[in-house]
Symmetry: C2
Subunit: 216 residues, 2 copies
């Protein structure tokens, strides 16, 4: 039996993390400590502790004597993420492949189909949600908690993509190409070819050359 006690700090952490992940808090939004205190009925101590942890985990940025701000995706941070995610996601697939059940692979197929549908209907936000689920489907089975944490931290930013100033036809083509790659990934999982999976995800699906087509 593990220790299931959760401190107020942990509750505050979840509360703010959910707000950010759910999109309720805009980028660069300044966190008001007082507002959190009032909303949850706790003192500033656990709130500040949660904010420090959120900052360390990449959710927030702490400007000394100014406060905590929701970390926005700058051009620089987007590049940083694209430069790292391929090797990590690919490695996760390699480590996960042996543990994937038939149900897991069926789930991948389902998500691939759902994404195709989302593209057809122009539901780009929905596509991003599904893409997140798709990659998480194998990442979470890689058996490496630290790797899972790294990938989750990076994936949070992909959930924030905005397609506002992108040509619709370009975007459509971009997503269709990406989803064709998802089909290939499913195929390689079916074949249990870990080495090929790692290579394909790392060098093709997340290729640095493709990065310039990624949009925020």
């Amino acid at each position: 039996m593990t220790n299931e006690y959760r401190s107020l700090k942990d509750h505050v952490y979840d509360y703010i993390a959910d707000l950010i992940d759910g999109g309720s808090l805009a980028d660069d939004h300044k966190i008001s400590e007082q507002q959190i205190c009032d909303a949850l009925g706790v003192s500033r101590t656990p709130v500040r502790e949660a904010l420090i942890q959120l900052a360390a985990d990449g959710y927030l940025e702490n400007v000394p004597r100014k406060g905590f701000y929701v970390k926005r995706v700058t051009e620089d941070s987007a590049r940083e993420i694209v430069e790292i995610i391929g090797p990590l996601d690919g490695r996760a697939a390699l480590l996960a492949v042996d543990g994937m059940t038939g149900d897991d692979i069926a789930q991948l197929q389902f998500l691939h189909g759902s994404m195709q549908l989302a593209i057809d209907k122009g539901l780009y936000k929905k596509y991003d949600d599904l893409q997140h689920d798709f990659h998480d489907c194998y990442v979470k089975k890689c058996g490496n908690a630290r790797l899972i944490g790294f990938v989750h931290q990076l994936n949070r930013y992909f959930m924030k993509r905005e397609y506002a100033n992108v040509d619709a036809a370009d975007l459509d083509a971009l997503l269709r190409k990406a989803n064709d790659e998802h089909a290939e990934i499913v195929r390689l999982f079916e074949q249990r070819d870990g080495a090929a999976l790692q290579r394909y995800i790392r060098d093709v699906h997340w290729s640095i050359e493709n990065a310039k087509f990624l949009v925020w």
Copy 2:
């Protein structure tokens, strides 16, 4: 002119991080908040804030209602690190290669020579220090702060290697092989062959197959 204010929390963070990195705090050691307060003459508030950040950064483990403990390298965490470091270190080399100056490469050569000397003299701890410097020499030039942070977090564990229960001859052979690989890495940097560097570091130098020879 940037904001160079450093809070007490930041000083406490550095103080404890240095203790851990310097090896003054044994694995599993329980951090005494009061002891830190007395040593630095501050109250518990900034100490606790620093401890929470250190835990989020992988230095410490927080057991609810028990306290903060220096994170030890278990068999599991060692495996986790070995599974991740290759792809990241290799990618860092790829990104760094164009920015490496002649001085940087001379530094790599020097460190390679120093490591050879350390092996000859049986100074294995010294070897680990130099190895850390060697990899840091290019990692820090990759232009990706997040990647640098990840690799540093992983490298901390390598600094903790203990060679107590390893056969001396085996260890000697192991380190000589590793340092031969360092020579090849230097050569590839001289040739500015980023693609080959990435492959070699990821698949040969940090190959998962080699992992079983790594010792703690």
